[in-house]
Subunit: 206 residues, 2 copies
């Protein structure tokens, strides 16, 4: 697809403790903006024409031979094909080996009942697009700052992202995406509080 | 459950390029033996009474805050509970951030059609126990030797396991397990060839 002109098709505000979804056509771009800084965005992405294919961090690690992401890297699916590509990144530190927080995490590990959580936020967000996943796939956690030590243990530090920092992705296929403002407010993961994110979808004239 | 006497209930030979499954009662132990050395075993485990709960490497990494395994560590499920526990390990280097090799891996990344693969071996092995998973969960890859560098890229080296090396696990719940002799014969992952594994299941008098 040749873009005749770059246009913002959609701007989506993701409030704290919530998730939002969107559709992109192949060639469209998605900018995920950390509005106030230090906010992780849990992100999933499905092939619009076959929801059994989705971006899969475990397969990404194999296809990239890496646990870091660099501009130019494909975001690979469970069929070993890139559904999207990272094209710009103002932060440089993200995570794709940690799960979405979920009801079990808050109950078992923090003793909290009914805490908002990324798994359910993402599940809800993709429902709007007709996807009914009992268990959503593992996310990419944009801006998440896990630091591994030399033996393989790690600590979750505050994100390095400042207000307005962003990542920019390009859709390789037609996709449905969803993003959740990570709802963990009892650890450093989001700088001890949950703040909004913003999505911008750019593409050619439609 | 109190074991009155430790008994080998079952000994299962896993030929190269195949998978085998077994049932364990809570308290039973499983020994996975690398018969000739340098052979990875892809391993999955389900709650026998609810196949929606299974050992999940991505949740293990969160519960353990680590990408290494030590004796005493729980092997956590997607509900953040240990289904099994690692109790003995003669090697000390394993992997739980890499996917099972699958048909897509061999076709897309190696140009090979119909190559035997761990995903299908595991899928086949658990069918015997009534589990019909379209996509099997991510495995623990016993004896796999991924080495991360300081920036987060990694190389797969030959396993450190010598003939007869093993890991010993204890079932915390009643479980169905399966293990596949990793079928990758075009890389260092299994020392460039595929060799057998052996399972021993130990428990009290039944």
């Amino acid at each position: 697809m040749v873009l005749t002109r770059e246009v913002i098709h959609e701007e989506i505000f993701i409030p704290p403790y919530e998730g939002r979804g969107a559709e992109l056509k192949a060639g469209d771009e998605l900018i995920i903006i950390d509005v106030e800084g230090k906010q992780v965005g849990d992100f999933v992405c499905f092939n619009k024409h076959d929801e059994d294919e989705h971006i899969s961090p475990v397969h990404m690690r194999a296809s990239l031979s890496s646990i870091r992401l660099k501009p130019g890297d494909g975001l690979y699916s469970n069929r070993r094909r890139p559904l999207m590509e990272l094209i710009e990144d103002t932060v440089g530190k993200h995570d794709f080996f940690f799960p979405a927080c979920d009801d079990h995490r808050y109950r078992v590990d923090f003793g909290k009942e009914n805490h908002p959580n990324c798994h359910d936020n993402l599940q809800q967000a993709i429902k709007t697009f007709g996807l009914n996943q009992v268990m959503v796939p593992d996310p990419i956690n944009w801006f998440m700052n896990n630091v591994l030590d030399e033996v393989g243990d790690y600590k979750i530090h505050e994100p390095l992202s400042k207000p307005g920092d962003y990542v920019r992705l390009r859709a390789v296929e037609d996709v449905v995406i969803a993003c959740s403002t990570c709802s963990q407010d009892m650890e450093a993961v989001n700088g001890w509080k949950v703040t909004p994110l913003k999505l911008q979808i750019l593409g050619g004239v439609r």
